[in-house]
Symmetry: C3
Subunit: 302 residues, 3 copies
């Protein structure tokens, strides 16, 4: 779990994913000699802070977003949310501006969001939840399991992937914007028919911890039934524990596949968490395990 | 009206349009020998559940969405809406899961939407309004006139169309997503400058039954004035009854033309209905007639 | 300021920008002989009512929207908003339908918006705020400073621009829709890496008149930090007065750059106004001056 612990402490609030990108790229360059198959790697300024790995001759891609929710300093001691973090007074935030390191607490609520730092923070400085990783035999608890677990799972998939794109996207937590050019590049380079979203969803009244990875039949948006049926058929064959989700709300990088100018089917496959978008996101380790296995299985059999 | 009656009983809740697609394709293959001109037909997995017909050398396309609103089973006896159906307790719904046919009634309201079926329905199963077609001398009343009338009109346009695309889209009722790849395909194959939306709108305080097809100056989105002026000019020349709509809300496949990466003008041309998104949608037969005639006229003269 | 005064009296409510387009094109054709470098000009039906100027070998484009907010007549004496105008009973509106010139006043409020004109206005007729230009030593006050100042600034940038696209877009006030095809054309013709939005923002509790042009770190959407850092670095070097904005709401043509299928960085650079979206928009002349200078500087140094 060293990789996961390392991922969880990288800073990557939406729009400022550079450090996370750098960490993932270094990991890839160091580890790929141990992978069964060697990918082509696409990264750098032309891709902003995204990374694409092409293994063999892909028909399917897995997408994991590397950005996190967080906060941005406004005027005086005001804060503005990045993405949709839970606002709880007293929550510890960390960041950095040109004057140095920042550690402060949330004051107020959604309508009057402030910090208690002892000096003004430079305008537009990003702050993230202070990280506190807790792992026991059954659960992992930390900030930003959403979506560092999805990134972790995608990197585990790389270890023995023969054919497929593995793609690390940005901006997902704040409306998106990297998926359109990633999809355009993929469809020009080596087009796909299927997309798997490697991300984290919610424990609800129908989705429970320790009952397997979630395959989502819908969130706010709806993948095509023919494709969901195929995915669920494969999931049953695989023997890997999974549960089916049906939600009216929420979204993922799948939304941008749905509205792309390509006829690409998509499905969300990821573990469910409690305490969503707080510093105390909690996921069952067995569900993380099922998530990795299911992605490996689907990338092989779709 | 056999074609229309047949269309009205096809199942096609957004994301599960396969049966409707199959019916339309079979109709096209059987009937096209009677059409004045023979189209190229584009359908199949590459187009998901959409169909495109290219007649001659098009500059204009007509788009008719084949999906319908409906419901999806969630957990226990919960339902989630697909698109924006009217929720009225007691409304009869029908569908099918792996255990067999389903017929049940709506319980509750928007905030607590359930069904009364005697057993659990498999997660993600789609349910549609039970169909009850009523036709008299003046009106047709049924579920899903929106947009089976639009599909019907587009198929009638095919009978003597020399130049033009006729396109059957999916997902319109639930945010869209097929239009971007349909437009991309069209612009690569044989590009267009104009798009007609063949869909159903609302009877309001300015739009009345039996007063002609509606040409919409705007809904939530606004077509370009130069193009609307041209369309209205042609409509006046045609002698076909029409009325002009100005709404602040609502949308259609035209929205996705507006936001596409192509400079394509668009306009909504369709009959108005009462009892929108209920099992009792009601349209004047004379307005359906004007709709078909106006689409034929505009496809010829634009 | 003759150019600015002329721009302020052109009619251009979203979707009906033709007269404004014609005025700008005539200005360009008349004035370009005085410009240091000669652009390629792209305009005409293929671009709807937009205009693109390509100077030299661009890596950056500046975008200025030419449309304005306004109103549209509905049924009886009802009005519907185009974009988000402030509704104040008694505000004077002007327009034209086939029966002649129209001058009337707003009645009612957002929920019941009407006019007091003595006859019915044809459905779909656009009305704009009556123009009243007030200039003193320190401020300009008028309707539609947003975005006639942005257009003015972009035209001033043309005077000595060696390399760069200068682009006049439409529909920005009502959800957009021209940016996707403009960006597609640019990326095919001579692609860019950076986009500057030449538009007007708000005086707030952190942004003040006479304190320089605003560089926006975010509005509802968030440009990439690496790019903002670069822009702010250049702005500091330039010596031109500027201030940094951090907002949770609002948008611009930058939104459509963010969601485009191209990895293009973007930033909003524009003066701040009071009395937003009223006939009394007010901007400090020194801020307009900083805006023009900053756009010139960034187009040269990015």
């Amino acid at each position: 779990m060293k990789l996961l612990r390392d991922l969880l402490v990288q800073f990557g609030v939406s729009g400022d994913e550079g450090l996370t990108t750098k960490f993932i790229l270094q990991y890839i360059y160091k580890q790929k000699k141990n992978w069964s198959f060697q990918p082509e790697i696409f990264a750098g300024d032309e891709f902003h802070d995204c990374i694409l790995l092409k293994f063999g001759s892909p028909t399917t891609a897995v997408f994991a977003h590397i950005d996190t929710i967080g906060f941005m300093s406004r005027y005086e001691n005001q804060l503005v949310a990045v993405g949709g973090p839970e606002i709880q007074e007293g929550t510890l935030l960390e960041g950095q501006d040109s004057l140095g390191q920042i550690s402060c607490r949330i004051l107020g609520d959604e309508d009057n969001l402030r910090h208690d730092f002892g000096r003004a923070i430079e305008r537009g400085t990003r702050l993230a939840f202070a990280q506190d990783i807790r792992i026991d035999d059954e659960f992992i608890q930390a900030a930003y399991l959403d979506n560092r677990l999805g990134v972790y799972s995608a990197l585990k998939v790389c270890e023995n992937l023969e054919h497929g794109w593995v793609v690390f996207s940005t901006y997902e937590e704040h409306g998106g914007g990297s998926m359109p050019y990633l999809l355009s590049f993929i469809q020009q380079k080596h087009p796909i028919k299927n997309a798997l979203i490697s991300d984290i969803t919610w424990v609800t009244d129908g989705v429970f911890p320790n009952e397997g990875v979630v395959i989502s039949i819908r969130d706010k948006f709806i993948p095509r039934k023919k494709f969901i049926d195929k995915v669920v058929g494969l999931a049953k064959e695989s023997g890997i524990p999974f549960q089916l989700e049906v939600e009216a709300y929420g979204g993922s990088d799948g939304r941008e596949v749905q509205f792309s100018p390509y006829a690409i089917d998509w499905v969300f496959v990821g573990a469910a968490e409690e305490n969503v978008h707080t510093p105390n996101e909690k996921v069952a380790l067995s569900d993380l395990d099922s998530m990795i296995q299911m992605h490996q299985y689907l990338m092989k059999h779709l």
